[in-house]
């Protein structure tokens, strides 16, 4: 029989990271993500990994990227204002194509806001917080078990596409404790980044021949000579001002995510078969929605749920298909309407789009969602 354990979301995230093979954590503790740093401080040394508390969030993000460039799967976690500080180096990892997982346990902002209260106010920052055109992968868990399993998936996507992945938790799931069925060794897929068999005789590190989208490069310092820079670079990693290279390089970064949407995007559809109303939600908000839909269904209301698990890239075609079948979509999120914008962009005039959001630091209750759905 599988082992069932009472775990906190933050704790499950740490265990998921270890399962995925993460062996380096650098961070600067901040509520409500602190238990991830605390957990890594205890667990990393037990499995031969390293934990380091840096002087701030900027440095800890840089340390995680550095460790990963050298070949060790790495993670950093933060909340609130810490996520703003991580943005600079997030872009650096996008362009240098260094995989790592950045966890944001969202809390109410702006600024230091309400440190112990839930929010999903960083969703657009996740997409555009670091400057310049770049793609991003962001995943949002709704249960403690998902904090574990989806953290493994974050690492897998990061390794496969050599790109940073954002694990967009929130205070609701981060500080929630519930039971987790621990996966056994080998049960979940674990992907390691591809590397050349003979680094010394491998070609330029960033070269992507034959229309490939992800470079196959050796960990830094293991025989293949290349440079790492946040400037637009040639195939061996040295800076260039070539407009052609700038164009092809950034377009390739975007294409490596865009052209693999079907592999990257996962979502949950529930009770949609006969639904005339669909509630769109993600992360901790889904817990309120599950209970609300149970109540509404018991009253005979035909309501279903669409929950993007991968929030970025946004599951456009999946939602578009739903919007052609239902009369109304209600977006529920703990912000003033961020993913709402994405839903409106995708749905256009296919059906009515309504919104329920909260920014006062409290959780949207099932009753509030029920009332919203019942509004004509």
């Amino acid at each position: 029989m599988k082992q069932v354990k009472l775990m906190q979301g933050n704790e499950a995230c740490v265990e998921g990271a270890l399962y995925a093979g993460c062996r380096f954590y650098a961070g600067y503790p901040i509520t409500p993500s602190t238990e991830i740093a605390e957990g890594c401080a205890v667990r990393m040394p037990q499995v031969g990994g390293r934990f380091i508390q840096m002087e701030d969030e900027i440095a800890s993000c840089a340390a995680a990227i550095g460790a990963s460039a050298a070949g060790t799967k790495s993670m950093t976690a933060t909340s609130g204002p810490g996520f703003s500080l991580k943005q600079e180096n997030l872009g650096y990892a996008c362009l240098t194509e260094v995989p790592f997982v950045l966890v944001d346990v969202q809390r109410a902002g702006p600024s230091t806001g309400l440190p112990t209260s839930p929010s999903q106010g960083d969703m657009m920052q996740a997409k555009w917080g670091t400057h310049g055109d770049h793609p991003i992968i962001a995943i949002a868990p709704s249960t403690v078990e998902e904090c574990y399993k989806l953290c493994v998936r974050c690492f897998n996507l990061s390794e496969k596409y050599r790109t940073p992945v954002l694990f967009m938790m929130d205070e609701i799931v981060g500080h929630l404790r519930e039971s987790v069925e621990l996966p056994e060794d080998g049960e979940l897929e674990v992907i390691d980044r591809a590397a050349p068999a003979d680094p010394k005789n491998a070609g330029p590190a960033y070269a992507c021949p034959n229309g490939e989208l992800v470079p196959v490069m050796a960990p830094f310092g293991q025989g293949q000579r290349y440079n790492i820079t946040g400037l637009i670079h040639t195939d061996d990693g040295f800076p260039t001002n070539s407009n052609d290279i700038a164009d092809s390089q950034v377009r390739r970064l975007i294409r490596k995510i865009e052209e693999n949407r079907d592999d990257i995007i996962t979502y949950e559809e529930k009770d949609l078969e006969d639904a005339d109303t669909c509630i769109v939600c993600y992360g901790g908000t889904a817990r309120s929605v599950y209970s609300a839909v149970e109540t509404l269904r018991a009253e005979g209301k035909k309501v279903g749920i669409f929950r993007p698990i991968t929030v970025w890239p946004f599951p456009e075609k999946e939602l578009e298909a739903i919007s052609g079948k239902v009369k109304r979509i209600v977006v529920a999120e703990h912000n003033d309407g961020q993913i709402l914008l994405e839903v409106q962009r995708v749905v256009k005039d296919n059906c009515k789009v309504d919104f329920i959001g909260k920014i006062n630091g409290t959780v949207i209750t099932p009753d509030e969602i029920v009332a919203k759905v019942k509004e004509a």
Partner: protein
């Protein structure tokens, strides 16, 4: 279906969040679905604090307590904030030091010397949460005494086992004597 929504409220430092974690752990030993959460302020201790746990036979959607079936208050402020507007069936447990207005009438209401038991009988104020767990489990019959014991031992500092098990027993005795 049985679903219990439990809220423990008091002052930061009383260990009530740990208390709800222990109840959740004991619930898992009884093969129940559990969801435990908390709210507290940025201060380390002294602020108002509440821990919540839902223990259910079925999978849990919304994870916060909305219709409490049991509330315990260990401070005057938390009594005033959390012990009103409850359903008729909800069980309210308060410490004997709480000033309860004469017109506060409930079907299921109990005043117990929880703080005094921790301070005097167990001899350590920090065990107030474990004394509470002992009493609560006797009232609600959430879990076997053995499973509660096991859960307590998982969530206390090493070297305090004897003290905390005594606290658990003294808490239970408040109901059985």
């Amino acid at each position: 279906m049985s679903k219990m929504e439990i809220r423990l409220a008091g002052t930061g430092g009383q260990g009530l969040i740990t208390g709800t974690i222990i109840l959740a752990e004991a619930g898992i030993f009884e093969n129940k679905f559990v969801a435990q959460s908390q709210s507290y302020g940025p201060e380390a201790r002294g602020g108002m604090c509440k821990g919540e746990v839902i223990i259910s036979d079925e999978k849990i959607g919304f994870t916060k307590v909305t219709k409490p079936t049991f509330v315990m208050a260990l401070s005057q402020l938390s009594f005033e904030k959390y012990c009103y507007g409850l359903s008729d069936e909800c069980f309210v447990l308060v410490d004997e030091t709480i000033e309860v207005p004469a017109d506060y009438q409930r079907k299921n209401f109990l005043k117990l010397p929880i703080l005094a038991t921790a301070r005097e009988k167990v001899g350590k104020m920090q065990t107030v949460n474990i004394v509470s767990i002992g009493a609560i489990n006797e009232i609600l019959k959430l879990s076997s005494f053995e499973n509660v014991k096991k859960a307590v031992l998982l969530h206390i500092p090493k070297g305090t086992e004897e003290l905390n098990l005594k606290a658990l027993e003294e808490g239970a005795k408040l109901l059985t004597k």
